[in-house]
């Protein structure tokens, strides 16, 4: 089938010689939202970092295909150009770099990757304003330094704002619900839902049911000790909530 977006086979990954992922298999098709749940230390964030190409992680075995391309052969920026976006659990502060400057560089890098000219200043600012409003970010945030002094909710909204700007094919949301109050959670979830189309897919990594009340998954996986130990439909979320991870 050519509707496969992402295909992970036998993926093993280590950080500083410690094996975290111990053989992960996962297939994601266009239009699907997958939830990856699991206890702390199961390897959820490692999976998202490996997908985005974080240099500190070493893939020791297995393969990842994204739209038929060998993802593991690509740099983090090439993966972004190809349509992968990672919403960070802990968004990084970049002192001295304003959101405007950061996003302008990012958007134009994506455009250059597609052989397009840089966006005109006026068009870029219009796009910024539109997407900031989309996640209810105040316009003055454009001048703020990236994530510096942001609250937990502001950081996560900034992630979804960036996602809206870059319009990825596969969004990976790493613990996007952590540190969010209900209002911020709703804004973030609505943003993710609004960006979802039948051509795209999302991986929602979370510890709790809460976010999945708002972003309803098609498939739910449980990651435990570096392996996917169970895969089912959305009914699995309630089962986990009831029984906990230990009894699966």
């Amino acid at each position: 089938m050519n509707d496969i977006l992402l295909k992970i086979e036998g993926l093993r990954a280590s950080v500083e010689d410690k094996e975290i992922l111990k053989g992960v298999d996962l297939v994601i098709r266009k239009g699907e939202i997958h939830a990856v749940m699991g206890p702390n230390g199961a390897g959820k964030s490692t999976l998202s970092a490996v997908l985005a190409g974080k240099p500190q992680f070493t893939v020791t075995a297995g393969s990842i295909e994204f739209l038929g391309q060998d993802l593991l052969a690509m740099s983090p920026e090439e993966r972004a150009w190809a349509g992968i976006f990672l919403s960070f659990q802990y968004p990084v502060e970049i002192p001295g770099v304003t959101i405007t400057n950061f996003m302008k560089t990012a958007v134009n890098a994506h455009r250059a990757g597609k052989g397009l000219e840089p966006l005109k200043a006026g068009d870029f600012l219009k796009l910024m304003r539109e997407k900031m409003a989309f996640v209810q970010m105040k316009p003055e945030f454009a001048k703020r330094e990236v994530n510096v002094g942001f609250s937990g909710g502001e950081k996560k909204r900034n992630e979804i704002f960036q996602m809206a700007m870059l319009d990825p094919t596969l969004a990976i949301l790493d613990e996007t619900d952590s540190g969010l109050d209900v209002d911020a959670l709703r804004i973030v979830a609505n943003g993710v839902n609004a960006l979802h189309t039948p051509e795209k897919a999302a991986i929602v990594i979370t510890h709790y049911q809460r976010l999945l009340d708002y972003i309803v998954p098609d498939v739910v996986h449980v990651l435990k000790d570096g392996k996917i130990v169970k895969t089912a439909g959305k009914e699995l979320v309630a089962e986990i909530e009831e029984k906990g991870y230990d009894n699966l």
Binding site: G53, Q56, S75, V92, G96, N101, F102, T105, A106
Partner: protein
């Protein structure tokens, strides 16, 4: 050479070209200070005989704002001796240096607070790559009479390579008791978490490093009034990009 500041003065010194500059040297600094900026002339005209003064005396209620920029390829030995010699005198000295090859950059600042109610601020930021060597020596001397002094000094550095070396010696000598003084010095590397975050948004590693380095230097360049600032910032960006490409 001594310069006496009686009003509010602003000085911008740019050491570029591939010469060596030394503030002890009685000869004019070769080309360095007069090199026209790309994109337009300097708003503050500087004659070819202009050199960085070794001694600066700031008189009562006067103020000197100085920005000293050392471009890649330039080795220099700059010694500044600033004396706040009248009540209410103020000195703000900002400096940035970017080294990508075998430069030897020495900067030393003595900031003398002789009388009460004087303020001084020093901010020096620099990047050392290649096998360059940077020595920063800064001293704030607050005399016994200089009550109500406010004096701050910061020196921050980024090392790009294992071959580069930075030595920083901030010092305070305080003989008065009613003062606010601080100094700080850091030597670090480019943050890899920031780089990965930027790359995950499609910013190339090269652009990410350039952004990091420009934003590191920016607090110094912010003290240059327009229209010079834009031209200087563009010059730094080009220079930094060149260095990143050759790391």
């Amino acid at each position: 050479m001594e310069e006496i500041i009686r009003n509010k003065e602003y000085r911008l010194y740019i050491l570029d070209g591939h010469g060596t500059c030394c503030s002890d040297d009685p000869r004019p600094v070769p080309s360095a200070l007069t090199h026209p900026l790309r994109g337009g002339a300097m708003s503050s005209p500087q004659s070819s005989s202009m050199t960085i003064p070794k001694h600066i005396v700031v008189e009562r209620d006067a103020c000197i704002d100085m920005v000293l920029l050392v471009m890649p390829g330039v080795s220099c030995d700059v010694k500044l001796d600033v004396r706040l010699a009248g009540e209410g005198a103020e000195a703000n000295i900002y400096g940035a240096y970017v080294c990508g090859s075998q430069e030897r950059v020495k900067i030393s600042v003595d900031m003398h607070h002789d009388l009460p109610h004087c303020n001084s601020r020093q901010l020096f930021k620099g990047i050392a790559g290649g096998t360059s060597r940077v020595d920063f020596y800064g001293k704030i001397i607050v005399a016994q009479d200089a009550q109500r002094t406010e004096a701050y000094q910061e020196n921050h550095n980024i090392l790009l390579t294992d071959g580069a070396k930075v030595d920083t010696k901030p010092q305070l000598e305080i003989y008065a008791d009613d003062v606010k003084c601080s100094h700080g010095a850091t030597i670090g590397r480019l943050n890899e978490e920031e780089q990965f975050y930027m790359r995950s948004r499609g910013i190339s590693l090269e652009d990410a490093k350039v952004l990091q380095m420009i934003s590191f230097i920016a607090p110094v360049l912010e003290n240059i009034p327009e229209p010079d600032r834009e031209a200087v910032a563009a010059q730094f960006e080009d220079a930094i990009r060149n260095i990143v490409r050759n790391i």
